[in-house]
């Protein structure tokens, strides 16, 4: 019994060693993905050609497995000498960079759809009232459109963030030693899959519960009681 407990504690301690990398993967790719998504939403409204390109991008990245996307970036691009000799190669042969890049490109596709839904939900009257008092485009965006769109999109975005935390586990397949990568190594070393994977699962679960709490708090802060009544 004591031996069992100390094994679990030891496993958890080792798994937690991968937590900083997991968190890094999530935060960097979510931040980059959000920026890209906003850029795509703006491009969409700017020109018809851009809208078609963005739609295709979203179609490809939402319609195919993340694992394939990661594989494409990590292995696929290196097939060409042009890429291997280019300035980008040091980055593209780095699994951390590739994992972040594919996670960011993936979440950008989903986020841009969420953002689009949020923007579409902004009441036309609220925008018109802004124009009628003489708001400039930028002021209207900042004071009326974005606050309303973000509030509407937040629940869906919260789910996307949860998916992202879970998705980082795929980075272990391109050799990264984040929580899942360490779990895999421990399973291979100890043959005690059930114990190791339960500990790893618990770590993700706690992370996601904390994240959900955090987003819930932001949501409350953005939409004080009654404003949704």
């Amino acid at each position: 019994m004591m031996a069992e407990l100390s094994f679990l504690l030891d496993v958890t301690r080792q798994l937690l060693g991968g937590l900083p990398l997991t968190i890094e993967l999530v935060t960097v790719s979510v931040a980059a993905g959000a920026l890209l998504a906003v850029a795509m939403a703006l491009a969409r409204s700017a020109s018809r050609l851009a809208a078609v390109i963005v739609s295709f991008y979203v179609f490809v990245f939402r319609g195919s497995p993340l694992l394939l996307q990661m594989f494409f970036i990590y292995y696929g691009l290196g097939q060409f000498a042009v890429v291997r000799e280019s300035f980008a190669w040091p980055a593209l042969r780095d699994p951390t960079f590739c994992a972040i890049l594919s996670l960011a490109l993936n979440t950008a596709a989903y986020t841009s759809e969420i953002l689009r839904g949020g923007l579409a939900s902004v009441p036309a009257g609220a925008i018109e009232a802004g124009r009628a008092v003489g708001m400039s485009r930028g002021l209207l965006l900042r004071r009326v459109v974005l606050p309303l769109a973000i509030r509407q999109a937040l629940p869906a975005y919260s789910n996307e963030l949860i998916e992202m935390v879970k998705s980082t586990s795929l980075a272990s397949i391109v050799t990264l030693m984040e929580v899942s990568g360490i779990a895999y190594a421990l399973v291979s070393a100890t043959y005690r899959a059930i114990e190791v994977l339960s500990c790893a699962g618990a770590i993700y679960l706690v992370l996601i519960v904390l994240l959900t709490r955090g987003v819930g708090w932001v949501e409350n802060w953005l939409s004080p009681a009654g404003s949704r009544a």
Binding site: P65, L67, L68, A183, I194
Partner: protein, 242 residues
């Protein structure tokens, strides 16, 4: 370009057949996992809506855990964990070493279990979206519980749940790629193998994209078709009003 077509094509040196076989396995796996998830989801939605406190609590734990843990770990758990248990049993009979399970079965169970958690929410939402008046009307004309379930609740809940069910299907299709870690020869695995043997990962990942997107688009069309059929009455009404 010509060489790419030869490689991913069906000729003697082509991998086209292999890739298509992989796509077929992906499709079969996804269908099995989806059906398992659907059955689980229906059961849990029912339990969640009309079960006692203990049942509801258990279902809540199931949906929270399975939606909060990476699918890859769930697949590992069944693949290695299942192997661990069989190994322990085999050990009693004197066998040693590591035992892997059949990837198709592992994939079906793992993904079915994960998507069952999502499906529970989708189906529950579908039921809750039925206007109360419709159920009252059924009760008012003296329908029994079962008849009401079959004639009113099920078709109406399905109508509201169908978009969400379509999303879960797309999710299953993409998640099935993770089962490649068990060595199951589905599409992702075949892309991997072909890339390795030909040293042309770019060509084969592109082929993989095309096949996954084709699967997603065609099956998405099927869902849309069903959705349109179920929404038939409302569409007719809209047309008449217009």
């Amino acid at each position: 370009m010509g060489s790419t077509l030869r490689l991913v094509g069906f000729g003697p040196t082509g991998w086209g057949g292999t890739l298509l076989e992989g796509a077929a396995v992906t499709l079969a796996l996804s269908i099995c996992a989806y059906l398992l998830g659907l059955a689980l989801g229906a059961l849990c939605a029912w339990g969640r809506l009309s079960g006692g406190r203990a049942v509801r609590g258990t279902i809540d734990v199931y949906t929270t855990v399975l939606r909060g843990v990476p699918d890859l770990l769930v697949i590992y758990l069944f693949y290695f964990g299942g192997g661990q248990m069989i190994g322990a049993i085999a050990h009693l009979f004197g066998a040693t070493g590591f035992f892997g399970l059949n990837g198709f079965m592992v994939g079906t169970i793992a993904i079915g279990l994960v998507t069952g958690a999502y499906q529970t929410e989708v189906l529950r939402g579908g039921y809750l979206a039925i206007p109360k008046g419709e159920i009252e009307a059924a009760r008012a004309i003296g329908m029994g519980r079962l008849l009401m379930l079959r004639r009113i609740i099920a078709p109406r809940a399905l109508r509201f749940a169908l978009p969400g069910m379509g999303n879960v299907w797309q999710q299953v299709l993409k998640e099935s790629a993770l089962v490649s870690v068990t060595g199951l020869a589905e599409l992702m695995r075949q892309v991997n193998v072909a890339s390795g043997s030909t040293q042309l990962p770019f060509d084969f990942t592109i082929a993989g994209f095309v096949l996954y997107l084709a699967l997603a688009t065609v099956s998405g069309g099927v869902f849309m078709g069903v959705e349109r059929r179920l929404a038939h009455g409302e569409r007719m009404a809209r047309r008449q009003r217009a």
